[in-house]
């Protein structure tokens, strides 16, 4: 019955089902948000709202991408929040005021994040330890280091740095979002990207096919650390100062973003782009609940309920489509 002309489309849809679902979810969320905004404010959201939403989501988008890369290998990186804390604290203290010092300090901070990620990866890959235990321990260590670096909130981030990363005048940060998505696409098509998904699907089978699980895990955790450090830089830029504890929350919120983004925590399925879109969905949920003027005491209840519904729906549709594909 199905016209042959449509087969590639439905096939592509099925292959990128998680991505399609989160994109749909984001579109719906934006429409609901805009409608509520229109009803309560008598106008449509404009440049400021877009800029603020994108800027505020940047750290989470990066944290979600970091988490997704590890999740694809069937790993879990709880230390993301700790790396963000540390990067945030370092940025507030050492960025300096001139262009050269900002570039050097940013590069060193990113490098430090990658190094911490590599430690996670080495413990998981060589030590054959449970990722959840390793990264729970390193989370505490990184948080401790961050507090040592910046015992009390303070420091300063130069205005030019803020203007470059999270310009408050226009949603330039969207460029970074696109760059991240591009980066993901390149990674996904590379040898390393294929290896990530392969070992997440079935480590033994991947190894039998010549993929090195140890090297792949090292790459995944290192990338995760690097990107998490990037999240810390964005966080510091938007706060214009440092606080060694504000990154903690991202350990959990990034899990939410990743799951909304259709990335399986059991590995092997999902996309970094989905995780980034998932981050934007969580921001939109905050916006929707705000303009719906829901009693703040029930806000977290609705947030939780919404997440459960979204995840159950996504999982249900996913299962349905996959089953139909198997049948046909």
């Amino acid at each position: 019955m199905t016209p042959p002309r449509r087969a590639p489309l439905s096939q592509a849809l099925a292959r990128h089902l998680g991505l399609a679902l989160v994109a749909t979810l984001l579109v719906i969320a934006v429409i609901v948000y805009a409608a509520l905004y229109l009803v309560t404010q008598g106008r449509l959201p404009g440049g400021f709202e877009l800029t603020a939403s994108v800027n505020n989501t940047m750290p989470l988008a990066l944290a979600a991408l970091a988490r997704a890369i590890v999740a694809l290998t069937r790993g879990l990186d709880l230390s993301i929040g700790g790396i963000i804390d540390l990067s945030n604290a370092l940025a507030a203290l050492y960025l300096g005021t001139n262009a050269a010092s900002m570039i050097v300090a940013s590069a060193l901070i990113l490098l430090a994040g990658a190094g911490l990620g590599l430690i996670n990866g080495a413990l998981v890959a060589y030590g054959r330890l449970q990722p959840i235990l390793v990264t729970l321990a390193t989370l505490a260590i990184f948080q401790g280091l961050a507090i040592r670096v910046l015992p009390q909130p303070g420091g300063a981030v130069p205005e030019s740095y803020t203007a470059l990363l999270v310009n408050t005048g226009a949603p330039y940060a969207l460029i970074y979002v696109l760059a991240l998505m591009l980066l993901w696409t390149v990674l996904r098509r590379s040898q390393a990207g294929i290896a990530l998904l392969a070992i997440g699907n079935d480590e033994a089978a991947a190894a039998a096919n010549g993929i090195d699980p140890v090297a792949t895990k090292l790459v995944a955790y290192t990338l995760s650390g690097l990107i998490a450090a990037g999240a810390g830089l964005f966080l510091a830029a938007s706060a214009t100062a440092g606080d060694a504890t504000t990154g903690n929350g991202y350990t959990l919120t990034s899990i939410v973003a990743v799951v909304l983004g259709g990335v399986s925590l059991f590995g092997g399925r999902g996309s970094g782009i989905g995780a980034i879109l998932g981050a934007f969905v969580t921001t939109m949920i905050v916006n929707i609940l705000f303009f719906a003027h829901i009693d703040p005491l029930y806000q977290s209840f609705y947030e939780g309920a919404f997440l459960v519904i979204a995840v159950v729906l996504a999982e249900g549709i996913g299962r349905l489509v996959r089953r139909r594909r198997v049948q046909t």
């Binding site: 709202e49 507030a92 504000t246 929350g249 705000f290 703040p296 005491l297 977290s300």
Partner: protein, 359 residues
């Protein structure tokens, strides 16, 4: 087909009919100042009372007729509070009253708000952003007040314990420094033990019970929070209750007026939940233009065993964990408000007078 179209038409019609009724109401309300409370964490009694007082103030004059208020909680999630903050900017509120999740984490968005002419008043966990007004108490003075009381009661001589707060916070640090500055003036006072109570009665009780067996007789207690827990541990260990300086837990104040067969000679000083109301009043008056844009430090509300008054500053029927300093007392009170306001956010009878320091 036609049914659907007709339903569509009805929907559009309803929307059109609703729109004009919405818009004029908004326009009429615009004469009121829009003031929002942006709070972070809401998971303890102090924060709930703080928010309840804010809500009740909005129901009372002069606030009821001058202000259109709203309130939001974000938890200790800086990015969420920042997002809510930007939504408040989008709503074009006149002022935001803020209890921040981080002293620095919101500085970027605060600057965006104040650049747009929105007044930001931060209280309790105050922010470092220079453009925000700050309303707070002097925590160093808290430490001194309690320590001076204990020093006087024990005649400047004896063994004292210090039950501290959550390490790493400004409040804990400043309170301890305040107390230490008093001990330094009294060389005969010995701090025989110092441990944290985490500002939590259960923790303070547990840690006190653990410390007591190894301690000599105690002549005075200086406690930052969880004071009723400390006293309960003393009772359980069969110890005499010495002069005590503590926070404003209802349980501690019950001991001041006689509780569980004991009466304690003490002073109860509190970080008042009504800081939210003071901040609201500051915002209102600055917006009206009859108060300068300046930071405010308010004195701590406190009671002693002599001044504590049932139904006013201690409540036998309410739980020990209730913060009994939801209202100020005495002739120089900054805010006087009823207990229903703190419990349920209900309006009290009459006008709500807030006595800001002289401009």
């Amino acid at each position: 087909m036609s049914v659907i179209r007709r339903r569509d038409l009805i929907c559009t019609g309803l929307a059109l009919a609703a729109a004009p009724t919405l818009l004029p109401r908004r326009a009429r309300a615009a004469r009121k100042f829009k003031i929002a409370l942006s709070n972070s964490y809401i998971g303890n009694k102090w924060r709930i009372e703080m928010e309840n007082l804010f809500k009740s103030a909005l129901l009372m004059e002069p606030f009821a007729s001058e202000i259109e208020g709203s309130w939001f909680n974000s938890g200790n999630d800086v990015s969420k509070q920042s997002q809510q903050f930007s939504n408040l900017i989008a709503e074009r509120v006149d002022a935001i009253v803020l209890n921040a999740a981080s002293p620095t984490g919101l500085n970027g968005i605060i600057k965006q708000a104040t650049d747009r002419g929105i007044l930001v008043v931060s209280f309790d966990n105050v922010v470092t952003a220079p453009s925000a007004l700050k309303v707070n108490t002097d925590q160093f003075a808290f430490g001194r007040m309690g320590a001076e009381f204990v020093a006087k009661k024990i005649g400047g001589k004896g063994n004292v314990i210090m039950v501290t707060g959550v390490a790493g916070t400004h409040v804990d640090l400043d309170r301890n420094k305040g107390a230490e500055s008093v001990w330094a003036e009294h060389p005969d006072i010995k701090v025989v033990s110092r441990y944290t109570g985490m500002w939590d009665s259960a923790t303070a009780e547990r840690n006190t019970a653990a410390a007591l067996p190894s301690l000599p007789p105690i002549d005075g207690i200086w406690c930052q929070g969880g004071t009723d827990g400390v006293l309960k541990a003393f009772i359980a260990a069969g110890r005499k209750l010495p002069p005590t300086a503590g926070e404003a837990e209802n349980g501690f104040r019950k001991f001041l007026s006689g509780y569980m067969g004991h009466q304690v000679d003490g002073i109860s000083i509190g970080q008042p939940p009504f800081l939210s109301v003071i901040s609201l009043e500051l915002a209102r008056r600055v917006l009206k233009g009859d108060y300068p844009k300046k930071d405010i430090t308010i004195p701590f509300p406190y009671v002693t065993s002599e001044t504590v008054k049932t139904g006013e500053t201690v409540f036998p029927d309410l739980p020990d964990s209730f913060f009994a300093d939801f209202t100020d007392a005495g002739p120089h009170a900054t805010v006087k408000i009823c207990v229903d306001a703190a419990l349920d956010g209900k309006a009290c009878a009459g006008r709500l007078a807030v006595d800001l320091p002289a401009a």
